[in-house]
Amino acid sequence: MRHTISLTVENKFGVLARVAGLFSGRGYNIESLSVAETLDPAVSKMTIVTSGEDKIIEQIIKQLNKLINTIKVVDLTVTDHVEREMVLVKVSASGENRAEVLRLVDIFRGKIVDVSPDTFVVELTGDEEKIAAVLNLFKPLGVKDIVRTGKVAMQRSIQHNDKEKK
């Protein structure tokens, strides 16, 4: 099963390498990883999407906790949380396609951030399902390139279920 893990670490030299090395050294998957500094510049937050059986996920969380520079590990999958990803899509936009692209961008509340005579670069943000839906709709129009940030995720302030307590 897929898990989204939020990792709070000291913002120090080499911490990303330690986390990445832990995953590669022990043969765990990383589907995506994003990292940046938090409000406190001495602290960084990583969002890691990984997958594996429950036993593997348990080991991953324990191993992450064991790193000296790790301050906190939360498996967001078992909590109420929001997830977002940003994607830049370079899509063909010539002739009648141009209007269709604009319409789709409007429907999905995206933004055109670059224009050329036969392409648009579209900026889109959303959860996994939304990004997948947009990419599916763009495909027949001709997607030339995409770049994704990987997921970022945050726990909701109010937890409606008690999954976390388990």
């Binding site: 670490v9 000291e10 080499g14 330690r18 090395g21 080991q59 000296i68």
Partner: protein, 562 residues
């Protein structure tokens, strides 16, 4: 007062109570060596940096203190990697200080530059690169704290040359502030109670303990625990010495070369009490058939060790010493204890039968037997010596035939299985405990891997004894080839080697050669009196095998018995 980085380095070591370091100088650590020249810290000049790491490790295992080494950048650092990994796998607190090229050259492929932090990241508990002299004292304080607390382990501190020249105010911090590192020592009370409920309801319990008993200094608590419950104890290789080898409740080692009784006991137990052990594949054999009927209580300081290989019923995260002390207190006043002791009688009878029907043994006759040599070493030292080993048959026979009675008297590379470990580790142990008799039980293959340290032993009058069980083979590999590869001895013939007696002589040590049974005791006695390091070349039976043996990956009950 302002001090250079090199001076701060030396002062910080003194603050940590370091009186001995193992090292080898080189270009980028010259400033530190210049400070050492003026200081009263004892420096042991090794002959290869791998030796320094193993000596620091042997020093740490024998004394319980943190072992320290100091090496130069590049090859100096990379030569320590096997030693660091050895310490990492066995949770041994050492600190390896490595020199680094000046910060402005880092990343430039400078002379003797290696990415030490990158190379050692996965074989250290933690590592540091000091980029500014202002961080020197604090980093050293943190390194020692991390190495010796929680589950101990090696720490590397990489120090660029310019940082040793720069100056700052010296102030050794009083407190540690590591927001992400808070080791747990006390076990969870509720879990402890659940464990006791489970244990007292069982009928066929076994206690299985590892190196955690030794690193947490819990041998006394374990003895009380086992005697209260009158429950048999088996040790892993790393756990030997954690429970008295001659104790009636002791079953010997379990696992690939474990005793029949220990392996049968864990196979049939209904209650496995694992303490400071990590269910290594050499212990469990086929994991699906390991303790298949058992409920498992697992006490370990490292949460990642729990439920890693085997599902556990009651996990207790904590230090073995404090958890056992707490359990002993509760068990003593538990009313169910009497009934429990009655209920386990049949089980103990069964175990006794296993012990009596299949004791550890070997066939007499023919050439000198390696097991005989170890028995004589035991007889002569009465279990009071510190014994180190190399890796392979010599290690397994020692584990089987020397009855360890005290913690920190058996020093061996368990996890990594490093050939060439035992001799430098013996030197480190002897330097830590000069009054102890220290004997490295070696093979003719392993001893050649760090033989250069004979010069170190002679230089510093470290009179350790090396007992080479010389069988002209890489014995353990030959044994596998014999059993599983149709006796095709592919490249395990070691008969081409130096004359060890002459070699000892050339280094200024004392050498003996022994072929006959009746010469074993007299030569050992002479060796024990020697003021010089001694190498004894025991010419033993060439194709002797270690038994029992569980073939790799097989179930523990499928032991080959001879």
């Amino acid at each position: 007062m302002k001090m250079t980085g090199a001076k701060i380095f030396v002062e910080s070591l003194k603050k940590e109570g370091v009186d001995t370091i193992f090292g080898y100088p080189g270009g980028v650590v010259l400033n530190i060596y210049d400070e050492l020249y003026r200081s009263d810290i004892r420096h042991i000049l090794v002959r290869h940096e791998q030796g320094a790491a193993h000596m620091a490790d042997g020093y740490a295992r024998a004394s319980g203190k943190v072992g320290v080494c100091l090496v130069t950048s590049g090859p100096g650092a990379t030569n320590t990697v096997t030693g660091i990994t050895t310490a990492y796998m066995d949770s041994i607190p050492i600190i390896v200080f490595t020199g680094q090229v000046p910060t402005n050259l880092v990343g430039n492929d400078a002379f003797q530059e290696a990415d030490t932090i990158g190379i050692t990241r996965s074989c250290t508990k933690h590592n540091f690169l000091i980029k500014n002299v202002k961080d020197m004292a604090r980093t050293i304080k943190e390194a020692f704290y991390i190495a010796r607390t929680g589950r101990p382990g090696p720490v590397v501190v990489d120090i660029p040359k310019d940082v040793t020249i720069d100056s700052t105010e010296f102030h050794y911090p009083e407190h540690i502030d590591l927001p992400g590192y808070k080791p747990i020592y006390e076990g969870h009370t509720g879990q402890i109670k659940r464990a006791i409920d489970m244990i007292l309801a069982s009928k066929k319990p076994v206690i299985y303990t590892g190196g955690g008993i030794i690193s947490s200094d819990a041998a006394k608590e374990l003895l009380t625990f086992a005697e209260l419950l009158k429950t048999p104890v088996t040790n892993t290789l790393m756990g030997l010495g954690g429970f008295p080898g001659e104790h009636p409740l002791f079953l010997g080692m379990l696992g690939m070369h474990g005793t029949y009784a220990a392996n049968m006991a864990v196979t049939h137990t209904d209650m496995l009490i694992a303490i400071g052990a990590r269910f290594d594949d050499r212990v469990t054999g086929d994991i699906n058939e390991f303790a298949p009927e058992a409920k498992i209580v697992h006490i370990d300081i490292d949460p990642t060790s729990i439920s890693k290989n085997v599902e556990v019923d009651v996990p207790i995260v904590g230090n073995a010493k404090s958890v056992l002390a707490e359990m002993n207190k509760l068990i003593k006043k538990d009313k169910r204890l009497k009934e429990f002791l009655k209920e386990i009688e049949d089980w103990k009878k069964l175990i006794k039968q296993w012990q009596e029907s299949h004791p550890l043994t070997y066939k007499e006759g023919g050439k000198l037997k390696p097991q005989f040599v170890i028995e004589k070493i035991y007889e002569l030292t009465k279990g009071n010596a510190i014994i180190t080993t190399e890796v392979g048959q010599n290690q397994m026979w020692t584990a089987q035939f020397y009855k360890f009675s005290k913690p920190r008297t058996f020093i061996t590379s368990g996890g990594l299985g490093t050939m060439g470990y035992g001799f430098p580790a013996a030197i480190g142990a002897k330097i830590a405990i000069p009054e102890a008799t220290v004997i490295d039980i070696a093979g003719d293959g392993s001893i050649q891997m760090n033989i250069q340290e004979l010069a170190t032993a002679v230089q510093y009058n470290v009179n350790v004894i090396v007992a080479i069980l010389n069988n002209n083979y890489l014995g353990m590999v030959r044994q596998w080839q014999s059993l599983f590869y149709g006796k095709r001895y592919s490249h395990t013939d070691m008969s081409h080697k130096p004359d060890f007696v002459k070699l000892a002589d050339a280094y200024g040590a004392k050498g003996y050669m022994v072929e006959r049974k009746e010469d074993v005791l007299p030569v050992l006695k002479e060796a024990l009196k020697s003021k010089l390091p001694v190498l004894i070349d025991f010419h033993v039976e060439e194709e002797e095998d270690v038994y029992p043996m569980v073939p790799s990956g097989a179930s523990l009950k499928k032991m080959l018995l001879a």
